[in-house]
């Protein structure tokens, strides 16, 4: 009775150690890649490249030269968190938003990537509540809309989660 348990725990431990080791080894490279990716998205939002060295995130916000600031947040999507990045101009006007990371269903929920669909571009011109959700991926759409609304007015109580 004990032997199957012992071997499965042993194999689990070995797997865990291996994963932990590789995680420690790859973490610096992964962090660098992610922050480079976020800055690239920021360049797209702001329109022209700026020098990100010396800029530090204060919580969820970073101020860029020229009165523009970036904000990031995470909302619960259909399959894990959706990480959002938004740029605001003078007077708190939303310049645009991008998704910097997500685990939504491939082919169905990945329209929130600008490479795949222009859907995210609408937030630059339309108030989030007026952006149409994508059928078949309502939870993903509503999550992104909710996230952007919260970034626009953090004081407002969070919008009710989508209930089918």
């Amino acid at each position: 009775m004990m032997r199957p348990l012992l071997s499965i725990v042993g194999i689990g431990l070995c797997c865990g150690l291996l994963l932990a080791g590789v995680h420690v080894l790859t973490e610096p490279a992964i962090e660098a890649n992610r922050s480079r990716h976020v800055w690239q998205l920021a360049f797209e939002l702001v329109g022209d490249p700026f020098d990100p060295t010396g800029l530090v995130w204060q919580g969820d916000r970073v101020d860029l030269p020229g009165g523009i600031w970036l904000k990031r947040s995470a909302v619960q999507g259909y399959a894990g968190e959706i990480h959002l990045l938004a740029a605001f101009g003078h007077g708190g006007q939303l310049l645009g938003a991008r998704v910097s990371g997500h685990r939504e269903t491939p082919g169905l929920g990945d329209f929130i990537e600008v490479d795949k669909s222009p859907w995210m571009l609408r937030f630059a011109t339309t108030p989030p509540l007026e952006v149409d959700a994508v059928s078949g991926a309502t939870i993903t759409s509503e999550a992104v809309k909710r996230g952007i609304r919260q970034m626009l007015s953090p004081e407002a109580p969070p919008a009710a989660a989508f209930a089918p």
Partner: protein
């Protein structure tokens, strides 16, 4: 020795003969670069898990072998995601979601159960390499046809995989921008995969008189246990 490899790659091609692993195959094969990326990741998980399971096979009790296999396969899948994110970030952004579902690819679990858990590491490794090569052949064939028909190009975006040198590898086939858009969409994947499967079966029937779909049976009509185990 090369028999194990060829057997796994061609005669028992996981995608075209055993019809395993079709979900990632159809989902990712809309361009050559995605196809090659997934083939490499699947191959890494396949070979790593086969070596680990074959080495550990005497310590894995029969009753809990499936949880152990899943544990090992999940570990190697997570490793491949971590390595992709660290060293091939552009490709990670495009194929990461599909690499994560390698863990549930029955092609891999099937080979672990039917082969790696009963054979010494070097044979398990050859079989895993063969299966991975077979899967890669299927992925690349489908990816190539779909990219050519859907985008009118070949090898576009290879710089995501092989660095800036590969940016100039793109071949324009002169068919316009989107000659047959459906090839890129899921229905196109099914139709083209079916046509390629039929083509492969037809070619095999030409070459050898044995009916192709009866590879499950040996000449005495008995079911070959090795293949039966791999189903699922």
């Amino acid at each position: 020795m090369s028999g194990t490899f060829a057997e796994a790659a061609i005669r028992r091609n996981p995608a075209w003969i055993q019809l395993l692993g079709l979900c990632p195959l159809l989902a990712v094969s809309n361009s050559l670069v995605n196809a090659i990326g997934l083939a490499l990741a699947s191959g890494f998980v396949m070979v790593g898990s086969a070596l680990a399971i074959s080495t550990l096979r005497t310590w894995i009790p029969n009753r809990v072998r499936l949880p152990c296999f899943v544990l090992v396969i999940a570990t190697f899948t997570t490793l491949s995601v971590l390595l992709l994110e660290a060293y091939a970030f552009e490709l990670y952004l495009r194929v990461a979601l599909f690499v994560q579902i390698i863990v549930s690819n029955c092609m891999i679990l099937g080979r672990m159960e039917a082969f790696a858990s009963r054979q010494p590491p070097w044979r398990a490794c050859l079989d895993a390499l063969g299966t991975a090569a077979g899967f890669a052949i299927a992925l690349i064939a489908l990816g190539g046809v779909r990219e050519a028909l859907g985008q009118g190009s070949l090898l576009a975006g290879m710089d995501h995989l092989f660095g800036p040198v590969a940016a100039s590898w793109r071949i324009d086939l002169g068919l316009g921008n989107a000659p047959f858009l459906m090839a890129l969409l899921p229905p196109g994947a099914f139709i083209i995969a079916g046509l390629l499967l039929g083509l492969g079966n037809g070619m095999r029937n030409r070459l050898s008189p044995k009916p192709s779909l009866n590879t499950d049976f040996d000449e005495h009509g008995k079911t070959n246990p090795d293949i039966r185990k791999a189903e699922g």
